[in-house]
């Protein structure tokens, strides 16, 4: 009798665990849907919603330069989804994209670098990272996965911000885009959920001598201007990396861009492979779940 109870309890526990495992993204989904709703509402009619969402913008600016009625899929373009003048410039540059050579260089690295093909047999994986590695108990970004792969085959890790790393990631992004892949970040366990929550906290916490959070500029501040530049929304922020930035005159990874944001906030930038950075990117990428992979791309 007692053996039957033990068996039944064990089975019930397994069933509950399996069901619970499927529910680790409940809060993240709630956050993501609320973010989508917020962004769609904000950009539904910027002129009409000026008082609530664009208090510092002029009527003329909202009428002439900010596109309204934005839907979820359009946010994949970042600020070019709503910035009409910026979009026109972006479209012009995109006619002769400056990152094309980098994709070719990335393909050569993929085929010619020891171990890479074995670690990433399918190169169309840009939308799956960052992911939570249950064995390591930590978030793995595409950048850290590539460097781990290099180290495992006895090679030196690459610079996580530019150069070969950005080129190989450009190839991965290009192949993912070509295959029609979407951002698909998963939260498979309690530990992954905790990493997501820490990343979320990092994103929304005010830091640095300017006391700015990422959200100040990219959630509440999205669509507002800093000098002549419009700030991009969190929704769709990670989909197009690596990017060729005119300011950099070259290609850079998401980690490189985040380091720049940290500096702008007035704090010592976090290292690309640090848990802080990896968890931040985990949260950010989850927010873009369902959007198509759109990299590599161009940004100012």
């Amino acid at each position: 009798m007692s053996a039957t109870i033990v068996k039944a309890s064990a089975l019930a526990l397994i069933a509950v665990s399996v069901l619970a495992a499927g529910g680790h993204n409940v809060q993240a989904e709630k956050d993501r849907k609320a973010l989508v709703a917020y962004m769609e509402k904000k950009f539904a009619n910027p002129l009409k919603n000026r008082a609530q969402f664009f208090p510092y913008s002029t009527d003329k600016e909202l009428k002439e330069n900010i596109k309204g009625d934005l839907k979820f899929e359009e946010f994949v373009l970042g600020s070019y989804a709503f910035n009409k003048q910026g979009r026109a410039q972006y479209d012009e540059i995109a006619e002769m994209p400056p990152y094309e050579d980098a994709i070719d260089a990335g393909e050569e690295l993929y085929n010619g670098t020891k171990g890479i093909k074995k670690c990433f047999p399918d190169p169309a994986i840009a939308g799956e990272y960052p992911k939570f590695d249950e064995k390591k108990g930590e978030v793995v970004t595409l950048t850290s996965a590539i460097n781990d792969c290099l180290k495992a085959s006895g090679q030196k890790p690459w610079n996580a911000k530019k150069g070969k790393m950005a080129e190989l990631e450009a190839y991965f992004a290009y192949r993912s885009k070509e295959a029609g892949k979407k951002v698909d970040i998963r939260i498979p366990s309690q530990a992954a959920q905790e990493a997501y929550e820490r990343g979320k906290k990092n994103y929304y916490s005010q830091r640095g001598y300017l006391k700015l959070s990422c959200a100040n500029c990219h959630v509440q501040g999205a669509g507002q201007r800093v000098r002549a530049e419009y700030m991009s929304p969190l929704l769709g922020q990670t989909t197009h990396f690596p990017v060729y930035r005119l300011k950099w005159e070259g290609l850079g990874t998401l980690e490189r861009r985040m380091g720049g944001c940290n500096k702008d906030q007035g704090e010592n930038p976090h290292k690309p492979g640090s848990p802080w950075m990896k968890e931040l990117l985990y949260f950010m990428a989850y927010m873009s779940n369902g959007l198509p992979v759109d990299g590599p791309d161009i940004r100012k």
Binding site: V16, A20, K42, K200, K201, Y204, Q206, G208, V219, N268
Partner: protein, 148 residues
């Protein structure tokens, strides 16, 4: 099925409670810094250079450990403190800080009093912000503390 759903909900609730509990756990240095009046403890005229420098030296390493150290125009607070220690020891009225920016060696000169105030202010505020963020970060999350 309803029972299973209830158990799953309870498990999720437990997880949420665990998360909020861990969010409340803050470093002892953060708690200590949160109680300080930064204008008073970093007042060079009232406390003297050595005392103000000691406050910066006490709190900035904790900010570094937590990954919240301030950096302004290419100069980290650790650089301020390092340069300041030498200037205070040599009783110099000015402190010259050497730092790297975009791969180039650079330097900037500040009044020693000013550098002391800044390093102390930066060290304490970095930790105070950690404490403040515990209760404020959710206010910015759409669908949570931020309604629209």
């Amino acid at each position: 099925m309803k029972t299973v759903q209830t158990i799953v909900t309870l498990l999720n609730l437990g997880a949420a409670l665990t998360l909020s509990a861990s969010a409340e756990e803050v470093n002892a240095a953060v708690e200590a810094a949160a109680k300080l009046d930064v204008k008073k403890v970093c007042d060079v005229r009232a406390n003297g250079l050595e005392k103000v420098l000691a406050v910066a030296e006490k709190y900035n390493p904790e900010a570094v450990k937590l990954g919240v150290e301030f950096k302004r125009l290419g100069i980290t607070n650790s650089t301020y403190i390092k340069g300041l220690k030498e200037a205070v020891k040599a009783k110099k009225p000015e402190v010259t800080l050497k730092y790297k920016s975009k791969g180039k060696e650079k330097s900037k000169t500040f009044k020693t009093d000013y550098a002391a105030w800044r390093s102390c202010h930066f060290a304490v505020r970095a930790l105070q912000q950690v404490k403040e963020a515990q209760s404020t970060y959710r206010l910015a999350i759409p669908g949570d503390g931020y309604s629209f």
